[in-house]
């Protein structure tokens, strides 16, 4: 079982702010590593773009544990939604090598709603 929580409980972050939170895991098998990744990805008509802007790895973790994380949100890109492209942000906790994943969707931008295009 994997969980991700932010300290504030919120999902909206302005550029330049810091995302602070905690991840925890309870694994059935030993893992090589767990990784916490802050990334953005696109959805829509175009081929998906994904960019990990920051990540934190924990090598040879115990089967159960937790770890706090702290990521500074870059200036962009903002979360937006257009007719062709949607861009979203998330933090993922990934167990390697099994690939077991937990994701926390975020909104990055100056306003608490994504930028609507068109």
């Amino acid at each position: 079982m994997l969980t991700i929580t932010t300290d504030t409980g919120g999902h909206w972050f302005k550029p330049g702010e810091t995302i602070e939170g905690t991840v925890s895991w309870h694994l059935d098998d030993d893992a090589e590593a767990v990784e916490i990744r802050l990334f953005w990805y696109t959805e829509g008509k175009g081929t998906q773009d994904v960019e990990v802007v920051n990540e934190k790895g924990i090598a040879s973790p115990d089967r159960a544990g937790n770890r706090s994380f702290r990521f500074r949100v870059p200036n962009g890109p903002y979360s937006f939604s257009g007719k062709l492209i949607t861009l979203a942000w998330a933090v993922e906790l990934v167990v390697l090598p099994s690939g077991e994943t937990e994701r926390l969707d975020l909104l990055v931008g100056p306003q608490p709603v994504e930028v609507e295009l068109g």
């Binding site: 550029p15 175009g46 920051n54 090598p97």
Partner: protein, 563 residues
């Protein structure tokens, strides 16, 4: 929103995984095995050819020297040199010039190679320490070793595939597909693209060099050669089997007098690599029958060099085809290099807001007018060059009274496109005389919410412009694959009119101001998805190509301190 993707492996998925591994192992294993086998054989042959580099030297005497026929159509000539040497008090006779296959399709090459060994002269040969009857006159670099690169590609693909199947198997199962961040390329794709682009570029460049550039240089040089009568002493169509069927080549051996002696050569053209095909070979042989008299062109500085036909034929333009690979490879490498240089930060802190300096910025157009002309001209020459080869073939059919209707009809749309490209080049050449806009942004780094001030000035006769409009446009661009084609869809989401005037006194120069909304999207560039902001300048000129130029600008996110 918290989304969970925890999965536990079930029996069916395990079975699928195992069968997938089996297929993957078989597929990539075959790649790896076949590639390795070829690598083994090629390296073995390379070592065999390189062996004389370590053989001891001994003195030998040339007994005879000339050119002999191999009896093979693909490489019908071979230097025939016999030499004598002594070892441990025993006499030996050798015939090998070098290790490897000395046969060649070029009579000139075999002749020049044999000419290095004058009958009765002494030279040095290399003798195998284990087989004294085996000797060579020359040590050669085993170029065949470079052929190992081709099967090595299969070895690498097979190896990476096997590694991915077994090492990466756990992370490429069902659970992996649910991790979006795992799809981030981490630059691997760019590195592969860089390598693929370089391979394409090198292969394309090499083919272009040998198929067109070097023959064209030789052809130009031959313009100063001497016209010399010659006699055809052998003329036949050579044919041999290849992987793609049967290859044909005209082999016309001719004799001429130059520099006080008699010479033989079979160089019919410098573009011999492009003179394949039975019809062409038959035509060349037919026009130079055995025993006939003809004219050849001889290099006055080196009478051994000559050519039978130094005319340029449209078919030679086929040698330009590899330029496609060269240009595509260079473009791919340039793009991949650019992408790699903008890698993500490795520190835990996020990236800084890297804004270029404030202050005015003179914008450069997306494509300069001369760039448009050159691009269109290249495409026009390329397209029409290729099409003309087939048009000439079709035309010959009509001239002979046996028109090829299918070829003629098939060519119609291609010829129409060719004519359109000629028209486009003409249009763009005319537009070179247009007044050209020069745009300056007061602030080089406009941001969302900023006041945006842009000034323009035309060079040239701006009074010819009857109506001028300048727009600031924001649009989405999404690139995707459909089958083997790459498509890009565009959707405009914002248009701000900066200028729209028909007043003569306003058109030549001026300034415009607008406020970029704070609730829209800044410029963004992913590999396949983009938000593009562009200033579009359009000027209407009566009875002349219009002014049309686009300038991409970068609109940055709001300042952090303003949020």
């Amino acid at each position: 929103m918290n989304t969970s993707f925890n999965t536990s492996p079930s029996a069916p998925s395990g079975c699928r995984s195992l069968s997938g591994k089996g297929v993957g192992t078989l597929f990539f294993g075959l790649f790896f095995l076949m590639g390795s086998l070829f690598v083994f054989f090629i390296l073995g042959e390379a070592l065999r050819q390189a062996a004389p580099w370590w053989w001891p030297k001994t003195s030998c005497t040339i007994i005879s020297s000339g050119v002999e026929s191999t009896g093979e159509d693909e490489d019908p000539y071979r230097p025939a040199v016999r030499y004598q040497y002594q070892l441990d008090g025993r006499d030996f006779e050798g015939t090998l010039v070098a290790r490897g296959d000395n046969a060649t399709s070029s009579y000139d090459r075999a002749r020049d190679q044999a000419a290095r060994y004058v009958v009765g002269s002494s030279t040095t040969c290399r003798v195998s320490p284990t087989h004294p009857a085996l000797a060579v006159l020359e040590r050669r670099i085993p170029w065949i070793a470079f052929a190992v690169l081709f099967p090595l590609i299969f070895v690498v693909i097979g190896g990476i595939g096997l590694w991915a199947v077994w090492r990466g198997s756990a992370s490429s199962d069902d659970a992996d597909s649910q991790s979006i961040s795992q799809k981030a390329s981490k630059g691997r794709g760019h590195k592969i693209a860089l390598v693929v682009g370089l391979i394409f570029g090198v292969v394309g460049g090499t083919l272009f060099l040998f198929l067109f550039a070097l023959p064209a240089v030789h052809q130009l040089r031959s313009m100063g050669w001497t016209e010399t009568p010659c006699t055809i002493v052998g003329s036949e169509v050579r044919s041999w089997s290849t992987d793609d069927g049967t290859s044909y080549r005209p082999d016309v051996l001719y004799e001429y007098q130059a520099g006080g002696r008699s010479w033989r050569s079979n160089r019919t053209t410098f573009f011999s690599a492009l003179s394949s095909g039975y019809d062409n070979a038959r035509d060349v042989v037919g026009s130079h029958p055995d025993g006939s008299k003809s004219t050849c062109w001889v290099d006055p500085g080196n009478p051994g060099r000559s050519v039978l036909d130094r005319d340029f034929h449209p078919m030679h333009l086929l040698g330009l085809l590899p330029l496609i690979f060269l240009i595509a490879g260079a473009a791919l490498s340039r793009w991949a290099w650019g992408q790699m240089r903008t890698g993500r930060p490795s520190e835990m802190e996020g990236p800084k807001d890297e804004a270029p300096g404030e202050g005015p910025l003179v914008l450069k157009p997306q494509v300069s007018p001369i760039g448009k002309v050159l691009g269109a001209l290249f495409f026009c020459l390329f397209w029409n060059g290729i099409v003309s080869v087939f048009v000439v073939q079709a035309w010959k059919g009509w001239e002979r009274g046996h028109p090829d209707w299918f070829l003629t009809l098939f060519l119609v749309p291609f010829v129409l496109v060719g004519l359109a490209t000629i028209g486009a080049v003409g249009y763009l050449v005319l537009s070179l005389a247009n007044p050209r806009p020069r745009l300056t942004l007061d602030n080089a780094t406009p941001r969302l919410g900023d006041e945006f001030r842009m000034s323009w000035r035309f060079t040239g006769r701006a009074t010819r412009i009857r109506q001028l409009s300048i727009l600031l446009e924001g649009r989405e661009e999404a690139t995707y694959q459909r089958g083997t084609d790459t498509h890009t869809d565009r959707e405009v989401f914002a248009t701000h009119t900066l200028v729209d005037t028909g007043n003569d006194w306003e058109i030549p120069r001026g300034a415009a101001t607008t406020v970029i909304p704070h609730d829209t999207m800044h410029s963004f560039e992913g590999n396949s998805n983009k938000i593009v902001w562009e200033i579009k300048v359009a000027g209407v000129i009566d009875r002349w190509p219009d002014v049309s130029q686009d300038f991409t600008i970068t609109i940055r996110p709001m300042r952090v301190e303003d949020l």
